[in-house]
Subunit: 153 residues, 2 copies
């Protein structure tokens, strides 16, 4: 049996693979994986702003979209894994679907709606993953304007 901490590390790695895939597509390197209460990957995705000219396909949104239409019950007990602290939009999407566990790689680059998630009773965990951070810092150094656009700055 894996511990919850081991499980979280495993799924963060899947999110990081998605982020790397995004980077390899010349996209913003943020990845996410939505995992059901029983450990099944419902959807995996990455930020598609640059690839698809999208204003809404952040990593977490892409994971939700890849998961497709699901009954509300499918999200209960699910965990959203993201390489980066989820912004207000992605936070709101988690709240809409009652995804009350959010695990992310880092929040040194950006702090999203963590306080709001906690205020609504969600569990929020920062794994302080240096690789997630380094990948974002590399991208931002290369393309600061694209990053600013992604967070509405």
């Amino acid at each position: 049996m894996s511990t919850q901490a081991e499980i979280d590390q495993k799924f963060l790695q899947l999110a990081l693979e998605q982020a790397k895939k995004g980077y390899s597509e010349n996209g913003i390197p943020i990845g996410a994986v939505l995992v059901s209460a029983d450990g099944k990957v419902l959807g995996a995705g990455h930020n598609q702003r640059l690839q698809k000219g999208s204003a809404i396909l952040h990593g977490e949104m892409d994971a939700l979209e890849k998961a497709g239409r699901l009954p509300g019950s499918a999200y209960k007990g699910a965990t959203m894994y993201s390489t980066l602290s989820p912004c207000n939009m992605c936070t709101g999407a988690c709240l809409l679907y009652g995804i009350n566990r959010v695990v992310f790689g880092e929040n040194k680059t950006f702090v999203g709606g963590e306080d709001l998630l906690r205020s609504k009773g969600a569990e929020v965990i920062n794994l302080e993953n240096e690789e997630c951070y380094d990948l974002m810092q590399k991208f931002i150094a290369e393309r600061p304007q694209d990053w600013n656009e992604d967070i509405g700055v």
Copy 2:
């Protein structure tokens, strides 16, 4: 010169047209229009859950997506018009982009993130439009399960 109240009614009608378009496509009849500070329609859209099998294309999200990639400055002073009180996801999307004015048709069917928007300094206006309400009630009576799915129930 039109008053702000007249302008708001005009753009709510555009959102309602979008909602009706959605209904005519056998979709969930919620429409939205994003309007810039100088009164230009940046994007108009409607809920696409049933049409596109989407978990994220609520009316407001579709309007944002139709507006496409924009610099953060384009959203400043903008108003999001929706036929229905925006859910937490759509509320979060407005917060992400600094859309600090939200006008909607009704909140008798559903109350979204109005308090959160106000707490962040946004202006929130309910136009109490009976046609928006009646259209939603008609849809919900016809397809209650699809509506529940759309709000994560």
